[in-house]
Assembly symmetry: D2
Homo-oligomer: 131 residues x 4
């Protein structure tokens, strides 16, 4: 089976190894609270600080957002969208949570495989009563 | 071949027909100017004013963003992300334009087929000289 | 909106034009009869006689099989699967028809856009009574 | 992160548990030898012996074929293709191997998550000299 890579597996490596892991790692950014049944936005960026090259033979193909075992959404990336130049790819997902979330992003580089983000926990609460 | 639907084909219909077309039509929102080789954001919303039902057997499966004949990116939607409730689905694409754009969104409803947005023109210009 | 290309649009062109259209055109092959509620197989090949190049910056990204306005299935192709060499890409879809079919394949080349096959009609009939 | 399921994790369970795992498990079928740079076919079936239900709210969404960390191809399944009836979903991938293969299939059920096949090894050899 394909191995799943994450930044933490490379965190004790050399600067070169860490830069390699950094530019492949998806990072989730979102609020840590959400309202039940209201649209909620989650950003995913590829690369903590380092840009991914995006050459014709080396580019990201998809980013998936998971809540534990449930796939929330998937973005299919086109190489050409990044103009074949180094960039920190980013995307935004909008969805409607019903229960609290444990989010992970998985992203596939056609040359260096499947990479996972750290897990992010989001507490989903009912909206306050208006009176 | 699959027919391609757009709001304008239904615009002279009854209120019921127009509501049907409205809730299926993708709408692009973005600036009409972009900087060459800089990340640019485009929002696509399904439904001009009316919400799509998103029932288990009736939901959107994907939204594609095209620049003329070139696919820029595609979002794969999961029914569960909308909690099986009516909502105006929205998504945001980030990409790096090199030339001026003529954008169209295409979105597929598993029950009512392939829908197109109006075309949106974006002028891409070089960044102003700093001095 | 993206134009949809098909071989017939280029059929009266020069040999070079026809070879260009040939190597981009999806072709459906299947029986013209199917049994209701039984698995049915449909092959789609890219290229009537001419091979598509499949270079790192020029390759097919997906093939969709449609029954009129309904998407039946989609194959996501990876450039690497064709070893960056000219080949007639082929794929096989298996699905279960309930009603007679009017099939079209749509395939997307990242350099030359969206191509359609000719329509293929399949009559779906109930299985003969056994006695 | 999403857990990855496989039949072997459930193989010592009750008959009910084994049937659950069986109907979700992708199974690879192919020759154990392939010719370098020649098209090679791999079948993937969901379910060893038990049929997956394929109801509107419970169906397979995709099947991916991997060679170690490299994605070879992906099929996007449409619920409607299986007529909302129990069936052993199957698909066929055609690709061109350059090196020996260690294949795994991964398949996603929208209700029960991501399932992996056993690994299948394929020896890729040069074609015999003709004389």
């Amino acid at each position: 089976m394909p191995r799943l890579f994450s930044y933490s597996q490379f965190a004790s490596g050399s600067d070169k190894v860490k830069a390699y892991a950094d530019k492949h790692s998806p990072v989730i950014t979102c609020d840590n609270q959400a309202k039940r049944n209201q649209p909620f936005k989650v950003k995913v960026k590829i690369g903590r600080n380092v840009k991914h090259p995006n050459a014709p033979d080396h580019h990201y193909e998809y980013i998936q957002l998971w809540n534990l075992e449930t796939l929330i959404s998937e973005v299919r990336l086109q190489r050409a969208s990044y103009g074949d130049q180094p960039v920190q790819i980013e995307t935004e997902f909008t969805f409607i949570p019903k229960v609290s979330l444990r989010l992970t992003a998985m992203a596939y580089c056609n040359k260096h495989g499947l990479w996972m983000s750290d897990e992010v926990v989001v507490h989903v609460t009912d909206q306050p009563e208006m009176d």
